[in-house]
């Protein structure tokens, strides 16, 4: 007998509050309103209530190893300089001059002691402090206050496993609290060697005609799309076993909107896929003594392969080959879904390696990684198209009139599917022994809703 339930939604009025009410009502029924993926009010509120508040990834420490090194990055729509100053401290600052707002930095990377505005010449130290201006005596009589007239600085900057995050809010949970169980997972991914991980090359960037949330929710837990969206790779023989994939996937749903998928890789492919399939000479260097016993068990049985750290930093580590029959390599990528406009984003794709790994092993992993997940990637290029229809639906007059709710009910809400987390799981969050179920996606939207309903001005 079917337990399927009809959708029960209140007809809604105009405005953001009404829409957020519909999200709240929908999530409990496994439903998400389609306008979320293309709406001016939603987007504006996301910039203010999520990106200008929570912890956002800006760079990895290995991208700016030396004093004076900087990279130009983004927090929401804001252009930020991430620099290592003369004391070795990392600063995250707005790239706009305090005199007229001109950008003091227009290059992606470099090394600088100072940033000089090209308009009137106001100059800032690489820690953001105001350092001087041309014709100072005639123009201003005395020096301006270095801190008061310095570049805007992110009030909070912190890092975990070398991943630098910034928060534009002085208040709120610490990075450790924000990451929660995601920090525990990051440790299993990056903490296998005391030297940690480092970035290889420069991040690769492309504009996708999709909403940033589509990338985030996909990596937070969508194993269901693989044998349809990426089926071409099964047909060519490049990838095998995508039909069985969901049964080999384990799902980790974490507080704070973070979600990971893990794969029983050895069960899928054999012992050579132990620890993602890193070659024996690499595995010989791994040190798991700092891991707790749940982390060790997870690594040995179901290493984390895919994930999203709320809001927009995603992860993928899989074994793959340059072609069927060639020796496999393990690739590690982190990617960020940068919002540009409602329904439009820029993807940034970083490739990582363990710092101790040889140049040869590093380049092998890089080549294999770019072959599957990059602008040319044989998996990723299809995602870029699959997510494009969603903002079009979000903007559709018909769908808005119909108040369309999208179906996130694999969790078992409103359907016959019965899914329960593993009762004996000792790690953070909830662990499911199944790739089906859209728990990670709904968990992402619950966190999204929580922040969106807290007006940062304190109006609510």
């Amino acid at each position: 007998m079917s337990t399927a339930q009809p959708i029960r939604m209140t007809r809604r009025g105009p405005g953001l509050d009404s829409l957020l009410g519909a999200v709240a009502e929908g999530i409990d029924q496994g439903l998400v309103p389609v306008e979320l993926f293309n709406d001016e009010d939603v987007f504006r509120a996301e910039m203010e209530r999520i990106f200008a508040r929570t912890w956002v990834f800006v760079a990895h420490e290995t991208e700016i190893p030396n004093k004076g090194d900087f990279v130009l990055r983004r927090i929401g729509l804001d252009s930020v300089i991430v620099s290592r100053d003369d004391t070795g401290k990392v600063n995250v600052m707005s790239s706009h001059c305090r005199h007229r707002g001109t950008q003091v930095c227009l290059t992606d990377r470099g090394n600088a002691t100072h940033f000089k505005c090209p308009y009137h010449g106001w100059t800032y130290k690489n820690n953001g402090e105001w350092a001087g201006a041309p014709h100072m005596r005639e123009a201003y009589g005395e020096k301006l206050d270095a801190k008061e007239w310095g570049l805007l600085k992110a009030p909070r900057v912190d890092s975990h496993q070398g991943f630098i995050f910034a928060s534009l809010s002085a208040e709120g949970p610490s990075l450790k609290e924000h990451l929660g169980g995601a920090a525990w997972v990051l440790d299993t991914i990056c903490g296998l060697h005391p030297g940690g991980v480092r970035v290889v090359g420069s991040p690769e960037r492309s504009i996708l005609r999709a909403d940033w949330k589509s990338g985030a929710e996909n990596f937070a837990g969508d194993s269901y799309h693989i044998d349809t969206g990426h089926w071409s790779n099964e047909v060519t023989g490049y990838a095998r076993g995508t039909r069985e994939n969901n049964h080999m996937v384990r799902r980790l749903v974490l507080d704070g909107g973070h979600g990971f998928l893990c794969h029983a890789l050895e069960q899928m492919g054999g012992p050579f896929l132990h620890l993602w399939g890193y070659p024996p000479h690499v595995q010989a260097q791994f040190d798991l003594s700092k891991m707790d016993e749940v982390q060790v068990k997870l690594l040995n049985e179901n290493p984390p392969t895919i994930g999203n750290i709320f809001p927009n930093l995603s992860y993928l580590r899989v074994p793959s080959t340059a072609e069927a029959g060639k020796p496999p390599a393990v690739t590690t990528t982190f990617r960020q879904w940068q919002p540009l406009e409602p329904g439009l984003m820029e993807i940034w794709n970083w490739q990582f390696t363990f710092d101790f790994m040889s140049e040869e092993d590093t380049q092998h992993g890089y080549a294999v990684g770019q072959y599957i997940f990059s602008s040319s990637g044989m998996f990723e290029q299809d995602d870029t198209v699959l997510w494009e229809g969603i903002p079009r639906a979000g903007k559709s007059v018909w769908h808005r009139k119909a108040e369309t709710m999208l179906h996130y009910r694999q969790t078992g809400i409103g359907t016959d599917a019965q899914r329960k987390p593993e009762p004996d799981w000792k790690g953070p969050g909830e662990f499911y022994n199944d790739g089906f179920g859209e728990f990670g996606q709904l968990n992402f939207y619950r966190q999204w809703l929580q922040l969106m309903r807290q007006d940062p001005e304190g109006a609510r």
């Binding site: 090359g201 960037r205 071409s232 060639k326 990723e380 198209v385 494009e388």
Partner: protein
């Protein structure tokens, strides 16, 4: 005597250079017509095809230094891509883009290998995907090496230098 020998060498280079230019033009027809296997037949067995990542840097600095690549394929990797394009499930190019390639500003130079020429060309690809309202323009310079074999000229290497630092077409589902 030496003059006529020099003239003969020049004539031979000019003939090869002309063939190299024709080769680049023929490629655009094959790719625009989606005759991928015919294009594949023009690749040298040793071919390396790569598209580099570019960064915005100050004047004089190397925009490509240690950046890595968006794509770097050998012949077997390209073969897998072409197979994929024919599966009916390669959504990035199914339905396929309509493309028009314009190749020009070609400069051909000799290399240390008498059978290999270096060809530098500019490429504009107009790519109109599926139901998009507008097509995308992909602009690049290409640094190629073309090997002359008994079967004719073959692409030995291609390095694509995109004008875009941020790719504005959503993927590199087409060959450049």
């Amino acid at each position: 005597m030496s003059n006529s020998k020099e003239t003969a060498v020049h004539a031979e280079f000019d003939a090869m250079a002309k063939k190299a230019e024709q080769f680049l033009a023929r490629e655009t027809v094959l790719l625009d017509d989606r005759r991928f296997w015919d294009w594949f037949a023009l690749l040298d067995d040793q071919v390396i095809y790569q598209v580099l990542i570019r960064t915005v840097r100050e004047s004089g600095a190397d925009e490509f230094a240690s950046t890595g690549f968006r794509q770097r394929d050998d012949k077997s990797m390209i073969e897998t891509r072409i197979k994929r394009l024919h599966t009916g499930f390669a959504w990035a190019e199914d339905p396929p883009s309509r493309t028009v390639r314009l190749v020009g500003s070609i400069v051909v130079d000799p290399t240390d290998d008498p059978n290999v020429l270096a060809a530098d060309s500019a490429l504009h690809v107009y790519r109109h995907r599926a139901q998009d309202d507008h097509g995308d323009l992909i602009a690049a310079r290409r640094r190629d090496r073309i090997r002359f074999t008994d079967q004719g000229p073959r692409l030995l290497s291609r390095t694509v230098l995109l004008a875009d630092v941020v790719l504005t077409t959503p993927n590199l589902g087409i060959f450049l």
